[in-house]
């Protein structure tokens, strides 16, 4: 209800498709269809499945001639690679670990996935079953990746340090790529949007991106306005292809 997709990787990929202006259709995985790597998002292109958002983006750049989605200067590419890792391999997991430790009620609420579970008794039963399964799975992933070992205070400190660095790197540029968005912008939007639009423990990290590092909050709003004009529509109706309504 508060953002189109809770998976930052899916949000990243869809944002990339919109930035690269490629024709696409969303398909609902109904919580059960996963790629050969056991994940979402994945794509089907010309009859072939491609898995992993980064592998997908590389393939699409090649297939559709979108090399201009990335900087040409090697130093800029290196910085993009590093800041992408900071958002996707580090910051992302601090929030994931916080959700796995503190955030279940949110995930199962109507702001999260709750509306997909019907209503009344069916909803209560589904939650009863889903809750321990999701809890176990998220803990398994957070512990395996490593962030799950830290306390909430430590996770907040790490997240804030990462946000501070990303904020300095963005500075007053309109996009991380400069005047035009690059793949790094899709990545950053995918991973920063949850801090702006979804639950964070006691709202502290939302405050970080809106008040302590305001250029980040403003950046997320800017990208949303430009590339997700159907944001409110898709969130409220749960229709996955509202982007086509504009055409």
């Amino acid at each position: 209800r508060t953002l189109p997709n809770l998976s930052p990787w899916s949000l990243k990929l869809e944002t990339w498709l919109r930035m690269a202006d490629l024709p696409f259709t969303n398909i609902n995985n109904e919580f059960k269809k996963f790629s050969t790597k056991g994940q979402v998002p994945f794509i089907e292109l010309n009859g072939e499945q491609i898995a992993d958002s980064n592998i997908i983006i590389e393939k699409l750049k090649e297939e559709f001639g979108k090399a201009d989605m990335d900087p040409t200067d090697p130093m800029d590419q290196a910085l993009a690679s590093a800041f992408s890792a900071l958002a996707e391999d580090h910051l992302c997991w601090t929030l994931f670990a916080l959700r796995s430790q503190l955030g279940f009620d949110y995930l199962l609420s109507d702001d999260g996935f709750g509306r997909h579970h019907g209503s009344g008794l069916m909803k209560s039963i589904q939650h009863l079953i889903a809750r321990p399964l999701i809890s176990r799975h998220m803990t398994y992933r957070a512990q395996g990746q490593g962030m799950g070992k830290h306390t909430p205070d430590e996770l907040h400190a790490m997240a804030n340090k990462a946000l501070a660095s990303i904020s300095v790197f963005l500075g007053d540029k309109p996009y991380f790529g400069g005047e035009r968005p690059t793949t790094l912008d899709a990545t950053m939007f995918g991973h920063l949007a949850p801090f702006v639009y979804t639950w964070t423990p006691e709202g502290k990290l939302t405050k970080s991106v809106k008040e302590t590092y305001p250029n980040l909050g403003k950046y997320v709003e800017r990208v949303k306005e430009k590339y997700w004009p159907d944001w409110d529509e898709t969130c409220s109706t749960m229709d996955m292809n509202t982007h086509k309504n504009k055409e």
Binding site: D52, I55, F83
Partner: protein, 282 residues
């Protein structure tokens, strides 16, 4: 709810002296833990007095990890946190002179190494495992039945654990070629960032260089699933490779001795000085 910190391993500790708890030495590299190698090298860079303590393969930090330290009677876990603590306690900061943008870049490249490149290590080791129980690994520490138990029980358990972590984090779902490609691209980013400089931020090594050292040396010295990554580093990343080898020459003159003697007691200053220092502190 925080668990109480584990009991101190070193009860008769010296003031302002770091006790670095890590795995015993191996045959092909002082330690297979990139974080322990980073931390020990950082202590040497910053000239902080320390003594290695073997974790005897079993004792882990309160977060279940190696390395950890004991300092002035307190337990500290997680190498990144430990370095922050040491900077504060010993007033040492290799990156004090960096400007805000450079400090931001340091944080980003650290993530590229410790949250990115790092994962290629357990990924590869969970596919090429036998060496850990052999000469290049820990075999020198064990004899007879213990050797067999280590090889047949402890090592497979450790590998299973590594595989689960790789799967949980995501890298475990890729095939070897995909992981090699991703890792090579990440190596190239480090190579482009260092350029022709001696170290990432100029002529003086920072914590980032030491972090890269701890990880890159694993690819240069320990067996992976193939030689692809080592070859890529040596052939396509000459500046990065030169930098980590420069650090090895400067801060690990006892590298070979540490490995051949499987000793946690070697120091930068040579065996005679080490023995004299040991005699002094007792």
């Amino acid at each position: 709810l925080r668990m109480p910190a584990p009991a101190l391993l070193k009860r008769d500790w010296q003031k302002d002296h770091v006790y670095l708890v890590q795995f015993p030495r191996m045959g092909c590299i002082p330690t297979a833990s990139p974080f322990a190698l980073k931390l020990e090298t950082w202590l040497r860079l910053c000239k902080i007095p320390y003594t290695n303590v073997s974790n005897e393969f079993t004792k882990m930090s309160e977060k279940g990890q190696i390395p950890f330290i004991e300092l002035n009677g307190r337990h500290y876990a997680d190498s990144v946190h430990i370095i922050d603590v040491l900077k504060h306690e010993f007033k040492k900061d290799p990156e004090a002179l960096l400007n805000p943008l450079e400090k931001a870049q340091l944080i980003a490249f650290r993530a590229l190494i410790e949250d990115g490149i790092f994962w290629a290590i357990p990924y590869n080791r969970s596919r090429n495992t036998k060496w850990i129980a052999g000469d290049k690994g820990f075999s020198g520490h064990f004899h007879g039945v213990k050797k067999i138990l280590f090889e047949k029980i402890m090592v497979p358990k450790c590998i299973k654990n590594m595989k689960a972590k790789c799967h949980a984090q995501g890298i475990g779902r890729h095939n070897q070629l995909e992981v090699e490609k991703m890792t090579k691209d990440q190596f190239d980013s480090l190579e482009d960032f260092i350029g022709t400089k001696s170290f990432f931020f100029g002529e003086i090594p920072t914590t980032l260089d030491i972090t890269a050292f701890g990880h890159i040396q694993q690819f240069l010295h320990t067996p992976m699933a193939s030689d692809e990554l080592k070859n890529h580093l040596e052939q396509k990343c000459p500046n990065l490779t030169k930098m980590v080898n420069r650090l090895k020459d400067e801060f690990w003159p006892d590298w070979d001795e540490a490995c051949s003697k499987l000793s946690l007691a070697t120091t930068m200053d040579g065996p005679e000085e080490a023995a004299a220092a040991a005699a002094e502190s007792h």
